[in-house]
């Protein structure tokens, strides 16, 4: 069983992703890509490097000793971590191999796992999550676009162009909607401090509450945008958390799937409504209690944010 909010206080995601000003590798923290030579992994390794991410090594069993466009490839995570000192891993292996890859990463001392693959079996996600907790590590995803610190680095598959550096944080259960909403924010002058994909699965390594804990005490974050969707009760739990902990930064939400039929999985494994459980109505009602405005469409998010920030 996974206890919530046990390690966030000691887990500083910005320290891991970017580091502190005095660090030799400030803004250039080493990242290992698992599955670097696959078609998916190689495409995105190129894009991540282009964006400025320090991809220090890759892992593909059986291809140790080779290199991918100048990046050394190792057989095992233990070798890759020993050689680079990386604390971050981006997992790009196909879903059936995810469990093994993730356990190997955690065993080698990785502290932040960006779990990109879609279609990971639920039991595998739970096993990795429990193991990560034991190791004091954090998983983001699976089925996530990853994590981006705009204009510094990204570990994941998000395009660069929607994002710009700023003070808003975007948490999203959907990939493309994270891009769409960030793009709308950027166009209206609201850059982002962090974009983090919660993931579209029923089980999330980092859920919305834990994500909020990661940024709640940061003075360089002035607002949060939460892109949600139907299914589960993550938004309801978040609303309760905002009330219970008197969370005081402005929060704006968007929820996709208002018009979706019940008991149908809408593309994401987690996007399904049973009765009232997981419905958009339930989420909107709970957000209202927490004083979180909900946009009707992605384009309306910056309007609502502007209103909140003006107050």
């Amino acid at each position: 069983m996974i206890k919530m909010a046990t390690i966030e206080r000691t887990f500083n995601i910005f320290d891991i992703l970017v580091g502190s000003k005095g660090d030799k590798d400030f803004g250039k923290k080493p990242v290992v890509i698992q599955g670097i030579t696959g078609s998916y992994g190689s495409t995105h390794t190129r894009l991540m490097k282009e964006y400025g991410t320090n991809i220090a090594a890759g892992v593909t069993p059986g291809k140790g000793g080779q290199n991918f466009e100048g990046t050394p490839v190792y057989d095992t995570m233990a070798d890759a971590v020993r050689a680079t000192g990386a604390q971050i891993s981006g997992i790009f292996v196909p879903a059936p191999f995810f469990l093994m890859a993730a356990i190997e990463a955690l065993d080698s001392g990785i502290k932040l796992l960006a779990a990109i693959p879609e279609h990971v079996p639920i039991r595998d996600s739970i096993k990795v999550l429990e193991y990560a907790q034991k190791k004091g590590a954090r998983m983001v995803g699976p089925n996530t676009p990853g994590v981006i610190v705009p204009e510094v680095m990204k570990v994941g598959i998000m395009p660069a162009q929607p994002f710009k550096a700023g003070s808003t944080v975007v948490f999203s259960r959907s990939g493309t909607l994270m891009y769409e909403v960030s793009y709308n924010l950027t166009n209206r002058g609201y850059g982002q401090k962090l974009g983090l994909g919660i993931g579209g699965d029923p089980i999330n390594g980092t859920n919305l509450i834990e994500a909020f804990d990661l940024i709640r005490d940061r003075s360089d974050v002035n607002s949060i945008v939460v892109v949600g969707e139907i299914g589960g009760d993550a938004e309801e739990q978040l609303a309760e958390y905002i009330i219970r902990t008197s969370f005081d930064k402005p929060v704006i939400a968007y929820i996709a799937g208002r018009a979706a039929p019940k008991e149908k999985r809408m593309g994401h494994a987690g996007a399904i409504v049973y009765g009232n459980y997981g419905s958009a109505e339930s989420k909107v009602a709970n957000y209202a209690r927490a004083n979180v405005p909900v946009a009707r469409r992605p384009g309306e998010v910056p309007d609502l944010l502007a209103k909140k920030l003006r107050r």
Binding site: M1, I2, A95, P96, H119, V120, P121, I122, R123, I126, K127, L129, E130, I157, M158, P159, A160, Q161, P162, S172, R173, S174, G175, T176, L177, M178, Y179, E180, Y183, G200, P202, I203, N204, N207, V227, E229, I230, G232, D233, A234, A256, G257, R258, A259, A260, P261, E263, K264, R265, M266, G267, H268, A269, G270, A271, I272, G275, R296, R297, G299
Partner: protein, 374 residues
């Protein structure tokens, strides 16, 4: 593989799994025609129950579960049930089942608890009603390696069970927990569980949902997969498809984006006829395949494409649309919003075709809704 809702097992399939795990079920017989039903009736004896095999809930209320006292009574009722739709779904067979000697009913389910991120066992001494309205619910969390018998025993005590029923409850729930673990189910619900005259338990219903994403480890469950031809085609291409009732097909790259488009279409007074997410890897071929899938849905009067580019090359999408018109795959208008790389080029390419590019999704939706409502 696309995430379809194809691993929601029918009652008789769930009960087959129960039987494999030693969870007691009534004697039964599946019939697809009246001759098979007659045979089943003779084997089981009367009175018996006829149960429509459907994936939708609320069968009892809809009159899709009926009792019969004799073969003469059974035959007309069987034929009626076989052709009776419930919530738009026709049964895939009728299960004939012996009548159990029920003293009391319980509710029992093991399910994936999303907010706690573990499996939970939920039980109630009030079975046979929807769990939302059942009283005195007992919820316990289950470790990933299975339910502890002591936890099951404590739960039985909380439910007020005694004697032989406690032993049977521990046996039932630990077996169900093994089933969930080994078959990788998201849900195994038994509502109701009967407490029989001798105090032992029997599963009167079965609702089992298997994790689609774990199917690669379960070839033995492949026979339970139920997909339409269209869904199969979509799945092979790596798309997520949901067929809907309206006349605007929505295609996009990303489940959230397509859902969001669906909401906006609905707000604008339109109705969606299909939800198709073709994922991140869009090439001319994949978009063309998506249009091929959509072209088989007859009620579609317009196609709305919402594409957030960046990774996707938008000119490839435009080429696919042009090819689809050229090959007479589609005749309906296409309303597209394609943002991102190469969108200016894509716009120019579509000039003079039945497809039109818009700068915002709102404009594309307005135009599509106006066209189908004309």
């Amino acid at each position: 593989m696309a995430v379809a809702e194809n691993m929601r097992l029918l009652e008789y399939q769930g009960k087959e799994l129960f039987e494999q795990y030693g969870i007691r079920i009534p004697r039964s017989h599946l019939a697809n025609n009246v001759e098979e039903a007659r045979q089943g009736g003779r084997k089981l004896g009367y009175p018996l129950v006829l149960k429509s095999q459907l994936t939708v809930g609320g069968r009892g209320k809809a009159g899709a579960i009926v009792k019969c006292k004799s073969e003469a009574e059974m035959e007309p009722k069987f034929n009626e049930l076989l052709h009776k739709e419930v919530k738009g779904e026709l049964p895939r067979g009728i299960l004939l089942e012996e009548m159990a000697d029920i003293k009391k009913e319980l509710y029992l389910s093991l399910f994936l608890n999303r907010s706690k991120r573990c499996y939970s066992l939920i039980s109630s001494a009030e079975g046979g009603v929807e769990i939302e309205s059942a009283g005195n619910k007992v919820v316990v969390d289950i470790p990933i390696d299975g339910l502890n018998p002591q936890t099951a025993e404590d739960t039985a005590a909380k439910l007020g069970l005694s004697g032989r029923t406690v032993v049977s409850f521990v046996d039932f729930t630990t077996k169900l927990s093994r089933l969930i673990g080994e078959k990788e189910a998201e849900l195994a619900e038994i509502n109701p569980v009967a407490i029989l005259g001798d105090g032992s338990l029997m599963a009167l219903d079965a609702k089992v949902i298997i994790d689609d994403n774990a199917m690669f480890r379960h070839p033995e469950l492949k026979k339970y997969e139920h997909v339409s031809e269209l869904e199969k085609q979509a799945e092979v291409s790596g798309f997520s498809l949901v067929e809907l009732d309206g006349n605007i097909a929505i295609i996009g790259n990303g489940a959230g984006l397509v859902m969001s488009t669906l909401d906006m279409v609905s707000d604008a007074g339109g109705t969606a006829g299909a939800f198709l997410d073709f994922g991140g890897r869009a090439t001319t071929e994949t978009i063309y395949e998506a249009l091929q899938v959509i072209s088989k849905i007859k009620r579609v009067d317009a196609i709305l494409v919402n594409l957030f580019g960046g990774i996707v090359r938008t000119n490839l999408v435009a080429q696919a649309i042009l090819d689809a018109y050229k090959n007479n795959l589609i005749a309906v208008p296409v309303f597209a919003r394609i943002s991102g790389a190469d969108s200016e080029k894509a716009k120019a390419m579509l000039n003079g075709s039945r497809a039109k590019l818009y700068n915002t999704v709102e404009e594309a939706i307005q135009a599509a809704v106006a066209a189908v409502n004309r």
